[in-house]
């Protein structure tokens, strides 16, 4: 499969390395020679220097043979241009366009439906806001992903030190708690990803990934000693476009919101656009201001400024001053693994969100969603089981599922089945698969249509 990526920025770079690791043919286009050099020095991909919206450059990159074009530069105009031009040269290529500017918001649907040259719009900011909202609703979760239209959630939580499950084998959970345990897909201990078996003993400090029906989520969380409390008060630090989007969403859900922004002009603008939210002019790292605004009573503090270091420090400060839950925006990938070490568990990254959105379009087979988790070490995919796929019609036990992968959920019409070895996947079921990155190429193979049908 050939993929052309326009834009060698952070998103382009990481998508490229993600795909190159899966042995896909990737070509990266950027006009900045320094950015291109960073790509060609580090990743096994082809590079072309030039503007991504230039037909000559796109042709040189081989757009005609490409199956997917990802326009992910920082400039919306370039992205739109690249998709338009690619469509002229190669209509068969699937084109994904990253759009950041909020003015386009109303037109996303129209662009997707009416503009023939764009197949999908990617807006990392909208994705991030959605993710923040999901994280708010699940206490202690570091990862919340919705599948099957929100009926199934895939959750990652840390096991607290005094949790009753600490030191308990998976097979003993029922005996210990009297409740049916949700399906635990993976455990991360000492940065190592394990797919646990029944005799695996949980330990405090483990990062546990499990899958649960949305309705049973509260019960599932209580097994891990996490109790869902309604969110009433939120403080947002940084009134950029993500901050604004989040504030409007919270307003709609009648959650009392305070938003701190440094730039006075921006404050005026925010105050004009927002109705109920309190807009505060000031520095988010100002202790006095935070205390004045009762930070200790906040249910959630979200730091969303454009400066990574400020976000991290403000989050630490808020946590120390008594905020019960802190969500931090971090864009630099190299920071993400460090964040949990300093006690900030809930992190969002616009770039990671963009990557997750893009992934599902790249996966072969009828994949509806694909989320990269645990520093891109694994992926959760939701796919439709095609009639001709070899996973259909026999017990899961008998399917040759690659090592490091797990079928974690089956949705048949309105019912959700948490599978056992005896479950049978029927055609057109939607299945959720958890896979380590090594297993992904194999998984793509079994999800795809069997060859003899061609």
């Amino acid at each position: 499969m050939k993929v052309i990526i326009v834009g060698a920025g952070e998103v382009g770079f990481h998508i490229a390395s993600h795909l190159a690791r899966e042995n896909k043919n990737v070509v990266v286009i950027d006009k900045d020679p320094a950015a291109i050099r960073r790509v060609s020095d580090n990743i096994d991909v082809q590079v072309v220097i030039g503007s991504g919206s230039s037909p000559v450059v796109l042709k040189e990159a081989g757009i005609k043979e490409a199956e997917i074009l990802l326009a992910v530069t920082d400039s919306d105009d370039t992205n739109l241009g690249a998709c338009l031009v690619s469509n002229l040269i190669s209509p068969a290529t699937k084109k994904l366009c990253r759009i950041r500017y909020a003015d386009y918001d109303e037109y996303h649907e129209a662009l997707r439906e009416n503009a023939p040259h764009i197949d999908t719009i990617i807006n990392p900011e909208i994705e991030v806001v959605k993710k923040i909202f999901r994280l708010m609703s699940v206490p202690g979760a570091v990862e919340v992903n919705d599948f099957a239209d929100g009926r199934v959630v895939f959750i990652g939580i840390y096991l607290d030190e005094f949790a009753k499950l600490s030191g308990v084998r998976l097979s003993d959970i029922y005996a210990k708690t009297g409740k049916q345990s949700p399906l635990i897909a993976a455990v991360v201990r000492d940065e190592e990803l394990i797919i646990p078996r029944g005799n695996h003993k949980l330990k405090a400090g483990d990062l546990i990934y499990f899958i649960s029906e949305k309705e049973k989520l509260i019960e599932s969380l209580s097994i891990f000693d996490k109790n869902v409390e309604p969110i009433g008060r939120v403080m947002i630090v940084g009134g950029g476009s993500i901050g604004f989007r989040l504030a409007s969403l919270l307003e709609k859900n009648s959650i009392s919101t305070k938003i701190i922004e440094k730039n006075p002009d921006r404050c005026t603008e925010l105050a004009e656009k927002l109705n109920k939210a309190v807009v505060l002019h000031g520095d988010g790292s100002d202790q006095e201001l935070l205390r004045e605004e009762n930070i200790q009573d906040m249910d959630v503090v979200v730091t969303l400024t454009n400066d990574e270091e400020t976000n991290i420090l403000t989050s630490l400060l808020a946590k120390r001053m008594g905020a019960s839950k802190v969500i931090t925006k971090v864009s630099k990938f190299s920071y993400i693994p460090l964040i949990s070490m300093i006690g900030l568990e809930q992190v969002v990254s616009p770039r990671l969100s963009a990557i997750n959105t893009i992934l599902q379009h790249i996966r072969v087979g009828k994949v509806l969603a694909a989320k990269s988790i645990i520093d891109e070490q694994a992926e959760v995919m939701e796919a439709v089981a095609l009639e001709t796929s070899e996973i259909v019609g026999k017990p899961i036990r008998e399917i040759s599922i690659p090592k490091g992968a797990l079928v974690t959920g089956i949705m048949r019409k309105d019912t959700v089945i948490i599978p056992t070895g005896e479950s049978v996947i029927e055609p057109n079921d939607r299945i959720i698969i958890f896979a380590k990155k090594q297993a992904i190429p194999e998984i793509e193979k079994i999800l795809a249509v069997k060859l003899e049908f061609f």
């Binding site: 050939k2 190159a20 042995n23 043919n25 990737v26 060609s40 020095d41 096994d44 991909v45 082809q46």
Partner: protein, 482 residues
């Protein structure tokens, strides 16, 4: 630097080399000559040593090879390959000392073509095939080949490729390095096959045709005959070999484009035009210089002049005539040709046309800006501006090349070798050509060189093949600092 990792990969390369020894062994068995035992022994030694390296330094999971490690693997790997490739020679009856065998082996892998042998035709067929075969392996790069066919290198293949096939302006034919390497080797093998076919059409037997094709395409220059190509004395063979030497001297990505149905690829590439243009001009000059003085007819002068110019410019090093009998102007031109070399991305050596072109353009730019001090002017290749960094690295390369050439020839001269031989032997080895002038001319060989001189020349050949930086970097103290 993760040494165990580096040694592990080198171990794999050595095993791979050992397996390659099976091919000359086939010839040895077919001709039932005395090369069977040395080849079988060397195969055992090589595979055994490789295996023990791999076993001693078992690999912890590593996905990424750093730039530095890539260079170390290639530089040390090539030395090791030269070392183990020498065993069949050393264990055979023809080579008395190990340094001679090592010299012959490195000369083979680096596609130099300088030989120690005085009587080539007396050597067993299996061993002679090994001598040609290692040139063929070294031409496109034995590490590139292993990147192409061995899966173990994975992502790291890219760093190795860059260290083994240095080019001022890197071009990747395919998105993935493994595919690029595979494509290059396929093109290489295809052209070689065509040459074998054409040589056999002219009446050469399969063994000689294969050997000569295996040493023409990598621009190597080992022949199975004492008098090299002159042995056949045939216009047809001379023509075929001239054409294939030229093909080997052209960037292989152009061959790929040509085969993909772009017939104008050669013409559109400015380096290729420069290369073919300079070859043509040099042929004309040499032809007129030797016409009347050495050869009586213009046809003969052209035939030998063209063959020798192409042979030296592409750094092949075949001889169809003893050019030491030519006027000194022609000899000097041939000596200077050794520095020019073939195109970047070809199997030829020397400084490479692209670099010379860039340097000439740079000189012109300097002169231009003396006349128009405020002019803004870019150096362009094929209409595309070349980045400052590239120019700088090219000038650095040429400086190092000339500097190392001067240093090594002084070293050789200090051993009591005469002036012409010292200069020519170093020029011929650092440029991977083969024969030089004086004591090491086309009818002589390197056997009489002093013992230490051989080591110096071995080092020159490796420098030339890996384009200086990859080898010389190992001698920079900074490289070893943690």
């Amino acid at each position: 630097m993760r040494w165990s990792f580096i040694l592990n990969i080198i171990g794999m390369l050595i095993i791979f080399l050992g397996i390659c020894m099976i091919f000359p062994l086939f010839f040895g068995l077919y001709f039932k000559d005395q090369s069977i035992i040395p080849l079988a022994q060397s195969m055992g030694i090589t595979i055994g040593s490789g295996l023990s390296l791999v076993i001693c330094f078992r690999r912890t999971k590593v996905e990424h090879i750093s730039h530095r490690e890539g260079m170390a693997i290639v530089a040390i790997g090539w030395t090791a390959i030269g070392f183990f490739g020498a065993f069949p020679f050393y264990l055979g009856p023809e080579f008395s000392t190990f340094v001679d065998a090592f010299f012959e082996s490195v000369s083979g892998f680096t596609t130099t073509g300088s030989s120690i042998l005085t009587n080539i035709e007396a050597v067993s067929k299996g061993l002679l095939f090994w001598r040609s075969f290692i040139q063929w392996l070294g031409g496109m790069g034995i590490i590139v080949l292993s990147v192409a066919i061995l899966p173990f290198l994975g992502v790291g293949g890219m760093q190795l490729y860059k260290a083994e096939v240095p080019s001022p302006v890197p071009d990747k034919l395919k998105p993935r390095i493994r595919d690029t390497a595979t494509v290059l080797w396929k093109v290489y093998a295809l052209i070689t096959l065509a040459q074998v076919f054409l040589l056999m059409m002219g009446g050469m037997d399969f063994y000689d045709a294969l050997n000569h094709a295996f040493t023409t395409m990598p621009t190597g220059g080992f022949s199975t005959k004492n008098t090299s190509v002159a042995h056949f004395d045939s216009v047809y063979f001379d023509t075929v070999i001239i054409i294939f030497m030229l093909l080997a001297g052209i960037n292989f990505s152009l061959h790929y484009q040509f085969l993909r149905g772009k017939p104008l690829a050669f013409w559109r590439d400015s380096e290729c035009r420069f290369f073919l243009g300079s070859v043509l001009i040099l042929i004309v000059i040499v032809t007129f210089n030797i016409y009347g003085t050495v050869y009586e007819t213009i046809g003969q002068a052209f035939r030998y002049g063209a063959f020798q110019v192409v042979s030296i410019v592409t750094t092949t090093g075949y001889a169809s005539a003893d050019y030491e009998l030519w006027p000194s102007m022609s000899q000097l031109i041939l000596l200077l040709c050794m520095f020019l070399g073939a195109s970047a991305g070809s199997t030829g050596g020397g400084m490479k046309c692209l670099r010379v072109m860039l340097a000439l353009k740079y000189c012109y730019k300097e002169l231009f800006s003396l006349i128009h001090p405020r002019a803004v002017k870019h150096i362009k290749i094929g209409g595309v501006p070349v980045h400052e960094d590239v120019i700088r690295s090219v000038l650095g390369f040429m400086g190092l090349y000339v500097g190392l050439f001067a240093f090594s020839s002084v070293l050789i001269a200090s051993m009591g070798v005469d002036l012409v031989t010292s200069v020519a032997s170093v020029a011929a080895t650092i440029g991977n050509i083969g024969p030089g002038l004086g004591m090491v001319g086309p009818t002589d060989n390197f056997a009489q060189m002093p013992y230490l001189g051989k080591w110096v020349l071995i080092w020159c050949m490796l420098l030339g093949r890996l384009e200086i930086y990859t080898v010389i970097i190992l001698f920079v103290p900074e490289f070893w600092r943690k």
